[in-house]
């Protein structure tokens, strides 16, 4: 199962859950499972970047997840 870490300030939407394990084949699947569990996460998920196994995606969609993938959600970065 992929280990998923959510930002600290999402705790209100998840009832305090910050780290969880989810079985998902790809990011879309993961997103679906997260929003099924916590519908309020939908807007937050669309506004953030995600790192899957160290690779940062500003606009993830169908990226594959391995059974032992590490997933971190984080603010989007752009720069000057």
């Amino acid at each position: 199962m992929a280990q998923v870490t959510l930002p600290d300030d999402w705790a209100a939407a998840t009832g305090g859950t910050r780290v969880l394990e989810i079985t998902a084949d790809d990011f879309r699947d993961l997103r679906l499972r997260l929003t099924e569990q916590w519908p309020d996460l939908g807007v937050l998920l669309d506004r953030c970047a995600v790192a899957i196994d160290g690779q940062i995606y500003q606009d993830a969609f169908m990226e594959a997840l391995e059974p032992d993938s590490e997933v971190f959600f984080m603010p989007r970065i752009e720069g000057g």
Binding site: Q58, E70, F72, G79
Partner: protein
């Protein structure tokens, strides 16, 4: 570390294709567009830093001969505008629209309240004087700490800190961020030495030489063209169309040559006004800011207050770090509070840390991105504290950093584990550099600091057209700020296997190529370069197909090598290789013109780390600082055009040293900027700086076909702390407040610490 790869074109240093036009004055910048019947737009700006707008009457201006149009906030479509502007400091489009033209309140001195278009610039100025505006002045809030006080004057009465649960009362804190790992109390308890300091960075401008400028020509159907100075014409088109309620497809945006941006030209100021004035007047309208307007009304970098506490063991291991940083956002939310939080500890392996950051409204211009937004301020604090730790432990500051350095597999403070990174390689290169091995000059101090930026990919498009003679035209949509056309040509030449001289690149307008995000975030060589590379691979696939057709072979029996199609290994064909020129010359018989294209959302931008050091001397009587030598070491992944990479490193060092030594916005107690010009806002000139030495480290980014990491942002991060650390060592007192200007330094030298 990834193995170095030798390329034929990449890594060479051809003369920049735009260089001759720029040095001879032929290059066309934002203000150079001239059209028949063109008139001139000007902006009326608020004389108050904070006031209610009671009424605006533009009839006096419209009554003047030669005045064609006058507008105010009432002319803009009502209702909220959905969407956000790219780049840190961009914020919401709704806020940017209110920054472009004030509505019911003015929020800083210089805030636009009305605009006119007239036959000449002088007539336009006269028309501004005929506009009547009634204000109800309010007390301004100008200091970030005062703005955070519970009883502070509110910049925006409707601003509630964005927290999971809406606060009971509004405040000037728009956003706050927090990153935490481990237990800092336990970490500090385990420390043998602890440093605790407060650091301040002033509001500082990007200092681009070309002020914002544009020309808009809109027809009676509301359709037309905008020529402008921009880091991202697609996003300028999107912002302008949304603010004015127009169909995006009705506007064409043409990027002119750009005289610097550094993040400051990622947001619109003039374009929506010029479009509206042109539509109302039925004439093309030129608008250009003067330098004073650039300072008063465009976005600088945030001022900040940072409180830092760092603990370490005697062996140099950092046991805990706590940072509290308040960033000034200016009049609207959008300070880079999260990038600052995510960057501050990024170069290091820390088990226990806490970062708290704040995005705070004040009655000053809305901040904008400026190279690595948020990181110079936050990392200045930590890198200075590390230097003091090194002094307390009597250890070399590079050794201290090496002892704690992040490497491949280290979990970054913002979550993911780092893929291959070059921080240790930069530290080792710096330590071995001849300038570091040289003794510190008498009376000087040597400062060392690290820099970091995440880098991004985002969306890019490119087309590659093969001309009839086999030469190549690259069409892309990323405005060329730092030499990207040459880099695109080099990557195209390398991929196709031809000489650089056979490739040209053009930055196309919004009607002529696919969408590209802004040139920013150090993304263009990485992401648009990836698109160009893929477009060239598209060309190669087509060329192999044409060659196979010519030879009567299957496509998979043909290979591409050194710019020509050849039969693959083991293929028995008595044929001569077909070059790009051969194939292009016969294209009419094999299916028509040859071209390739690619559009992508580039992922996997590799972080770029740097290590800078410099020797600075302080005149103890006057407080003047001289930079005796300065060396920048940075990981570029792979330097496509090393001279451009060195230029980025040198430019960022110069800007960072300027921010450290003299640059600052000076406001009076009414919020009026008192130094809105380069005479009093002191950016470094050539005589202020030595030649900046550079050393490029190349730890390839595995996500890019040529290993590229963006290099534009990171160079500005380290210089602030290099300067502070060098000066602190030179005067044997720790300095906390930038700039290190003579009066500020004399206060420290003469003080009691």
């Amino acid at each position: 570390m990834a193995e170095a790869v030798d390329y034929k074109q990449i890594g060479s240093r051809p003369v920049r294709p735009d260089g001759l036009d720029k040095v001879t004055g032929r290059a066309q910048f934002g203000a150079d567009t001239v059209l028949p019947n063109m008139i001139h737009g000007k902006v009326l700006r608020s004389p108050h830093a904070h006031a209610k707008l009671l009424s605006i009457d533009v009839s006096g201006a419209l009554a003047l001969p030669g005045v064609f149009a006058a507008i105010s906030g009432a002319d803009f479509p009502g209702g909220g505008i959905e969407g956000e502007v790219g780049g840190e400091g961009g914020g919401t489009l709704d806020d940017v629209a209110k920054n472009v033209m004030a509505r019911d309140k003015v929020l800083y001195h210089g805030h636009a309240v009305a605009a006119v278009a007239a036959a000449t610039p002088m007539l336009a100025e006269a028309a501004l004087a005929a506009i009547k505006v009634e204000y109800e002045p309010l007390a301004p809030v100008l200091d970030v700490l005062e703005a955070m006080a519970p009883d502070a004057t509110l910049v925006d009465e409707n601003n509630y800190t964005k927290l999971p649960e809406k606060p009971e009362h509004p405040s000037n804190v728009a956003n706050q961020g927090r990153l935490e790992r481990g237990n800092i109390e336990e970490g500090f308890a385990a420390a043998d030495v602890v440093v605790e300091r407060e650091f301040k960075c002033p509001m500082a401008h990007q200092g681009y030489i070309e002020p914002q400028a544009c020309v808009a020509s809109i027809d009676e159907q509301g359709r037309g063209t905008v020529w402008c100075s921009t880091q991202g014409h697609f996003e300028f088109r999107a912002a302008t169309s949304k603010m004015l309620g127009k169909n995006l497809a009705d506007l064409k945006f043409v990027p002119k040559e750009i005289g610097g941006g550094f993040g400051g030209k990622t947001v619109v100021y003039l374009e929506p006004l010029a479009v509206m004035l042109s539509e109302k007047s039925g004439r093309p309208v030129k608008m250009a800011l003067n330098r004073e307007e650039v300072f008063r009304a465009t976005g600088p970098a945030s001022a900040s207050v940072a409180r830092i506490k760092v603990g370490a063991k005697r062996d140099g291991t950092i046991t805990a770090a706590h940072a509290w940083i308040a960033y000034e956002a200016g009049a609207f939310e959008g300070a880079p509070y999260m990038p600052g939080a995510m960057a501050i500890f990024a170069p290091y392996q820390l088990e226990n840390f806490l970062v708290e950051t704040f995005d705070v409204l004040v009655n000053k211009p809305k901040v904008a991105a400026y190279r690595a937004p948020g990181a110079p301020q936050s990392m200045h604090a930590f890198e200075c504290a590390l230097d003091e730790i090194a002094q307390l432990l009597d250890t070399d500051p590079i050794d201290l950093r090496l002892h704690n350095a992040a490497d491949e597999g280290t979990q970054s403070p913002y979550g993911p584990k780092f893929p291959p990174i070059g921080f240790k390689a930069c530290l080792e290169a710096a330590k071995a550099h001849r300038n570091y091995l040289a003794p510190v000059p008498e009376g000087a101090g040597r400062g060392v600091a690290a820099g970091f930026w995440f880098n991004v990919g985002l969306q890019s498009s490119a087309e590659v057209h093969i001309n009839e003679n086999g030469t190549v035209m690259v069409i892309e949509g990323s405005p060329d700020i730092g030499g990207s056309r040459a880099s695109m040509c080099l990557m195209a030449a390398e991929t196709l296997g031809i000489e650089y001289e056979h490739v040209r690149a053009q930055v196309a307008d919004t009607d002529s190529t696919g969408f590209c995000n802004v040139t920013g975030g150090s993304r263009t060589t990485f992401a648009t370069g990836m698109a160009v590379t893929r477009a060239c691979e598209d060309v190669i696939a087509e060329c192999k197909k044409r060659a196979a057709m010519t030879w009567g072979l299957d496509e998979d029996q043909v290979e591409w090598e050194d710019g020509q199609a050849i039969p693959g290994p083991g293929v028995n064909a008595d044929v001569k290789p077909l070059s790009l020129a051969n194939l292009a010359g016969k294209a009419a018989k094999t299916g028509g013109p040859i071209q390739g294209r690619a559009s992508l959302n580039a992922q996997g931008a590799g972080a770029s780390f740097s290590v800078n050091f410099g020797d600075l001397r302080v005149d103890q009587e006057t407080g003047k600082v001289d930079v005796l030598s300065y060396t920048a070491v940075q990981d570029a992944g792979k330097a496509i055009h090393p001279a451009y990479v060195e230029g980025q490193m040198q430019g960022g060092a110069a800007q960072g040293l300027g921010w450290a030594l003299n640059e600052e916005y000076i406001f009076n107690d009414q919020g009026v900027l008192e130094n809105p010009g380069f005479l009093d806002y002191r950016i470094p000139v050539c005589s202020d700086l030595p030649m900046i030495d550079t050393a490029i480290v190349e730890v390839a980014n595995p996500s890019h076909p040529y290993g590229v990491r963006g290099v534009g942002e990171t160079p500005i991060v380290a210089p602030l702390a290099v300067a502070t650390n060098a000066v602190s060592r030179a005067i044997d007192k720790r300095v906390g407040e930038l700039p290190l200007s003579p009066p500020n330094l004399l206060d420290v030298i003469d003080g009691d610490e």
